[in-house]
């Protein structure tokens, strides 16, 4: 059956040159877009490329010394929507600069293997997106700095020595808290935000900033029930917390959540207990995901400004590639945007 006879694929420029009837070096020159070639020759080569599906072996190409024009991206496994948007945006911008990207989606403690893969692939830089195990990422940054490999850490603030671009979560929480204080609130419930989780330390500071500016404090004006439930940081976690708060007498009038899922869950929980949002209690989320719109009432939240974040990261990245290594890390904070929706309102008159 002739339809099943496939010509063996061409595996090298030598073979390919023979097939086109040209010298190996001539083919090579065409493929590298060098000048001084007859148009006819060029066309012959390109047509044969299309016909045979031949493609040069990238491994030989880069072995010969050609830049790989690639960067490695370590992406935290916990794939929430904002992280994914960042990845897509990042790859788009890298492609615009003719860079390819190697992506590894991994557990927060799986960076070692990924980075060594990147190094063996001779990437020109390494990017981390997400929140990784503190010790691990600090080690990786140390290793990369030691060999002078450019790097960026996106959204994991506080890694020693790391070039970092991150949303100013402290500022975000400060603004959110100020918004609530402006509505008359003086007692705050914290949902999933606590000193226990290292990654939320800066948010707690932001809340404190706003409180202290109005002669309030974390100790005196915030309450947490996080210890009552397993830390799932999802809709059900928020719902459970809300039900616990609904059951007590001297309940806070405003609630700040770690993320939108918890916030939406809290709204649901309060309403199931007969409390009106924002009539009786105000609730905020974080991340400004689609589900803020889906919630009833729609959820006040904080936008991550993905586009600005990635733009800053890419700029910072290319300020390192091909330049001498700088010992001082660069740090850029992205200004958050508070989106006020229906879930926050004036404190209820007693």
């Amino acid at each position: 059956m002739p339809r099943n006879i496939r010509p063996a694929p061409i595996r090298s420029t030598a073979e390919f040159a023979r097939h086109v009837g040209l010298a190996r070096s001539t083919v090579s020159r065409v493929l590298n877009g060098q000048s001084g070639l007859k148009q006819e020759t060029i066309d012959r080569v390109l047509q044969a490329m299309a016909e045979t599906g031949f493609s040069r072996n990238a491994f030989a190409l880069h072995l010969k010394g050609k830049r790989t024009a690639s960067v490695g991206i370590c992406m935290e496994n916990l794939l929430r929507v904002p992280a994914v948007l960042k990845l897509a945006e990042l790859q788009k911008r890298l492609r615009e600069r003719d860079y390819t990207s190697l992506i590894e989606v991994l557990d927060p403690d799986g960076t070692k293997r990924a980075v060594s893969h990147f190094l063996s692939m001779r990437v020109e830089a390494v990017i981390f997106i997400g929140y990784f195990a503190e010790k691990e990422i600090a080690e990786r940054i140390g290793e990369l700095s030691r060999v002078g490999m450019p790097h960026i850490v996106i959204d994991h603030p506080g890694v020693p020595g790391a070039n970092t671009v991150t949303l100013d979560r402290r500022k975000a929480m400060e603004e959110l808290t100020r918004h609530l204080i402006g509505l008359g609130h003086t007692s705050f419930g914290l949902l999933g935000i606590s000193e226990a989780a290292k990654s939320t330390w800066d948010r707690l500071r932001g809340i404190a900033d706003a409180l202290e500016a109005h002669q309030m404090s974390l100790e005196g004006n915030t309450v947490s029930f996080d210890h009552l439930f397993p830390r799932e940081y999802n809709f059900e976690f928020g719902r459970s917390l809300a039900k616990s708060f609904a059951a007590i007498r001297s309940r806070p009038t405003a609630f700040l959540s770690l993320n939108d899922e918890i916030g939406a869950g809290a709204i649901r929980g309060f309403r199931e207990c007969g409390l009106d949002v924002p009539g009786h209690v105000s609730v905020t989320g974080f991340n400004n995901q689609d589900l803020c719109l889906v919630s009833t009432p729609q959820l006040t939240s904080v936008d991550q400004q993905v586009s600005q974040t990635i733009e800053a990261a890419v700029d910072m990245l290319f300020s390192q590639i091909g330049k001498p290594h700088r010992s001082r890390p660069m740090i850029e904070l992205i200004r958050p945007l508070v989106i006020v929706r229906e879930s926050t309102g004036p404190v209820a008159r007693a």
Copy 2:
């Protein structure tokens, strides 16, 4: 300042062998885990690796003929949550088999460049996730088949000649429609599901299947207002459609949506017009995303069964790698799971 003097990174096994004080071939044997080496030698090499951060040049490694043990993944740009879950799950399972993955996140019509990149990187297979431009992906599959490159298409049914794993969306819509018929509904509004979008053809067929089994038909028992709004397929689209439906007299009593966002938007739209869900109208979503829980009432939807899908895809993939090319494409349909929640109920008594 000595702290700024970094030793120049070691760039080759030759240099590295000199540094350790061993022969190049000995180092090579250690790195390849060959037998017949003194433990002391092995330890010396491994320790020096750790100290210097040396890693073999992957390009030389694979040029020499070592399998790349890599697959290329083309990922549609339109990054919805289920697609991302698939990506993460896929990469995890590939890693378990010691495969690395090259991922390109791209526009539905950008496959050509990505695939040629994969081929030049000598991947052992190519995977497509998402819905691509019909003509483009058909061309790519043709090219890949011609050179005998294993491939899988996930979630784009109907590509000629393609090895395909996809959720049985026809079956899904049939079951969802049967669920509604069982609740007494006989008049259905379609939100974002129409013949116009090639990608929803199979869902329309599924609805027809269920209707026809009960002496109903698409023509006689379904209505669409899709033509009144720009096709955004998001929350606002659903909300606008619902408001249009709310305004008419002989309104359907059940609504089938293209996705969860539209379904949630429809619920919101109906409620804003004073209609109770599911008291007056029932609404369904598709994809079973987190936001189904956030919606009030919670949204009846269809789960994509990501884990089963990826498992089937990986199995199908490895049934091709290293085996002779088969001319008959393999096709596997994944059985969907209807999740009934609060947004669907008995038809209202007039």
